[in-house]
């Protein structure tokens, strides 16, 4: 953490994840005239998930810009603004709608610096409300972060707590390159301590949320909470699980994961994106390509989203992504060899 002492000494308020992001946005808008927010219905409506809230009233329509429903054009405008002196923060209403803007994100934002031989930077922040659990079905519930993680030039971040949501957003704004922030929609109303004022959480650094000795659970976003919940149950059973919040998908903090598995000898990876060709495969590869491979006492287990679109029916929807019970079962399997 790179919070100054004054911030750490400030009273810790309980803020929701959405409020913590808004707090970061307000700090950014207040301290830097170049910062502008762009997105659909982020003005008087306050954003589809009430993240921007009242910011338009505090900073005006010139800086909290309601765009037309034009994801490709809006994303491209954000790229152009970032290239020429502004610090845009572009909100996709749902991460799924980024499919309409992939051209600008993947071909332009990610590659411009490289293609131009370093002549430019694209200091762009994009926010993506992601994930399932809201009953919004297949086109409003995806977890596409691994897509973006596959693109050199982008940084991809997933905060699990209000504290990290604020600190990572401010770190993203300080970053000279495009940073994609994936925010799980079910986390927006979760609360946690958030200091007042500016602090940053480093991009590219995982956090060990719970130390343990028997198994490592690497998780992202909402899976961090499910893994921590599972760890408490497992502790009752005599299984001491270490939980790592990956926090950044790209660049991935392989060192923290490798060090943990070298200690625990077992690995379960829990993430909401589709299981195949995803974050789990990459985390697993970090282990099998490292010295930690020699320490493995059990096969690695990847717990990811089902090989299906997210369904509408609530029970089907739950079944489509890892739940606490799935984590429990997977951990028991790798620890006791009953899988």
């Amino acid at each position: 953490m790179t919070a100054p002492a004054a911030v750490l000494d400030s009273p810790l308020r309980e803020l929701s994840y959405a409020e913590a992001i808004r707090d970061a946005l307000a700090i950014a808008l207040a301290e830097d005239e170049r910062v502008v927010l762009m997105g659909e219905d982020i003005g008087v409506y306050g954003g589809a998930f009430q993240v921007s809230g009242d910011l338009v009233h505090r900073f005006g329509e010139e800086r909290v810009i309601d765009t037309p429903i034009s994801e490709l054009g809006g994303a491209g405008m954000a790229v152009g603004a970032a290239l020429t002196g502004l610090r845009p923060i572009y909100e996709f209403q749902f991460s799924d709608f980024a499919t309409l803007a992939m051209e600008q994100i993947v071909n332009q934002a990610a590659k411009l610096r490289f293609m131009l031989g370093g002549a430019v930077s694209v200091p762009l922040v994009m926010r993506f409300p992601a994930g399932s659990g809201t009953g919004a079905a297949a086109q409003h519930s995806q977890s596409l972060e691994a897509w973006f993680g596959h693109v050199p030039g982008l940084k991809v971040v997933q905060a699990a707590t209000p504290y990290d949501a604020k600190g990572l957003l401010l770190a993203a704004l300080d970053d000279p390159d495009p940073v994609m922030l994936f925010e799980h929609k079910l986390l927006y109303k979760t609360k946690g301590p958030v200091p007042e004022g500016r602090y940053t959480v480093p991009i590219g650094k995982a956090e060990v949320c719970r130390t343990g000795s028997n198994v490592t659970i690497v998780a992202t976003a909402i899976m961090v909470h499910r893994a921590l919940e599972a760890a408490e149950v497992l502790a009752q059973e005599g299984i001491d699980a270490e939980v790592i919040d990956l926090r950044t998908v790209r660049p991935m903090d392989r060192e923290t994961v490798v060090a943990s598995v070298a200690k625990t000898s077992r690995l379960v990876v829990a993430y909401e994106g589709v299981r195949t060709l995803g974050i789990g495969a990459e985390v697993s590869a970090s282990i099998v390509e490292s010295e930690a491979f020699d320490y493995l006492d059990a096969p690695i287990v990847r717990l990811g989203g089902a090989e299906a679109p997210i369904p509408y029916n609530p029970e089907l929807e739950k079944a489509a992504v890892p739940q606490v019970a799935d984590i429990l079962s997977a951990v028991r399997g790798v620890v006791r060899g009953t899988r």
Binding site: R34, G74, V79, G80, S121, E282
Partner: protein
């Protein structure tokens, strides 16, 4: 090339084939573009100094010789990949950039060599880029399709049709918010007007009155597919009406007509009155890219457009108005030829990039070696 043999007159001749008149909501000044009656001096002659006009001709010639040099270098195996030549379209690029400063931005296209030179790029560094050299504008990482010159305001060519248009809108948003007083000119081809990015961008620029000049260089074909076969409106400038901005169609082979339309649009943009759409009707003499076998157009059609050579026309205009002598033109030809030869020599002699620096500039701060 000789200017004394010039017979085709700039100004009163018929507009480009298949295109007539001007866009529905054009401003009066732009409406007359390319239709100046014989008694009136063309806009360029009235509006610019002889030095500016001679420099405009020199830049057109430089673009032509640069692209011929690039084509020759390609044939000799000095250039890797492909390229898209704009030979025949020089008046459009130079006319559109004539009043832009180095602070004004442009976004360009895959057919962007002319825009790059018109905006002031050094042809040595351009050849070096095409040859994949470290001294190139993109350190050999971009090539022809990503040529850029950020110091001169060129935010880059683009490999994606319509890719630069929303970026131009963003640059215009920066200009407005940061009160730089600058404008952004976005070049794109006729193929781009059927991309969503075109429509989304024009709409956003119009609702926020952003200082953008949208220039559709209509060279009649998106690769092989003609405008008639791909585009529902009779002329691209008609689409301006859908976004409540002025739209005008000009003879893109007439530098004066392009400059006049752009002059009005730039003034409007600088005054905070918003964007304009200019359709610059022109023609590429060469194929779409190096793989083109010209199956979709006839030799007669190509020859008819070669007869409308924008450089000969503009040189003729300058001669007619006593702005450039035969000797002056010959000297210009020689100087440009020498400049191109020196540029190619510079590029050939430049070092290749170090393969160990492959991941350089993927990120601004190189904090990672792998994903």
């Amino acid at each position: 090339m000789s200017i004394s043999s010039e017979t085709e007159r700039c100004g009163a001749q018929a507009p480009a084939p298949g295109r007539k008149g001007s866009g529905g909501s054009a401003r009066p000044a732009s409406r007359r573009a390319g239709k100046t009656s014989a008694g009136n001096e063309p806009f360029a002659v009235r509006h610019y100094s002889p030095e500016v006009l001679r420099e405009a001709l020199r830049k057109m010639l430089l673009i032509r010789r640069f692209e011929e040099g690039a084509e020759d270098s390609y044939m000799r195996g000095l250039i890797h990949g492909t390229m898209h030549l704009s030979i025949g379209q020089e008046a459009s690029a130079v006319g559109a950039c004539l009043e832009l400063t180095d602070q004004d931005k442009i976004t360009s296209t895959h057919r962007g060599h002319g825009h790059c030179i018109a905006k002031g790029a050094d042809v040595g560094r351009m050849f070096a880029e095409f040859f994949g050299k470290e001294s190139g504008y993109c350190r050999g990482r971009g090539g022809s399709m990503h040529i850029a010159d950020v110091d001169k305001g060129n935010l880059g060519a683009n490999g994606i049709v319509g890719g630069g248009i929303p970026i131009a809108v963003g640059a215009a948003l920066s200009a407005k918010r940061l009160k730089t007083g600058t404008v952004v000119t976005s070049f794109f081809g006729d193929g781009a007007v059927n991309e969503g990015s075109f429509h989304e961008s024009l709409n956003m620029a119009a609702i926020w009155k952003l200082p953008v000049i949208f220039i559709c260089e209509n060279n009649h074909y998106g690769m092989s597919t003609s405008v008639e076969r791909s585009t529902a409106v009779r002329q691209v400038s008609d689409r301006a009406a859908a976004y409540s901005m002025p739209g005008v169609t000009v003879d893109g082979n007439d530098l004066s007509a392009v400059a006049e339309a752009c002059h009005g649009a730039i003034e409007r943009a600088r005054a905070g009155e918003g964007p304009s759409l200019i359709e610059s009707v022109t023609y590429r003499w060469r194929g779409h890219s190096k793989s083109d076998r010209n199956r979709y157009r006839s030799k007669d059609e190509i020859d008819a457009w070669i007869a409308r050579d924008p450089i000969r026309r503009f040189a003729g205009l300058l001669s007619e108005h006593g702005i450039l002598s035969e000797e002056g033109f010959a000297r210009m030809e020689t100087e440009v030829a020498e400049q191109i030869a020196a540029a190619i020599a510079f590029a050939k002699e430049s070092p290749d990039p170090d393969t160990a620096a492959l991941t350089r500039d993927v990120y601004t701060t190189q904090t990672e070696s792998v994903g």
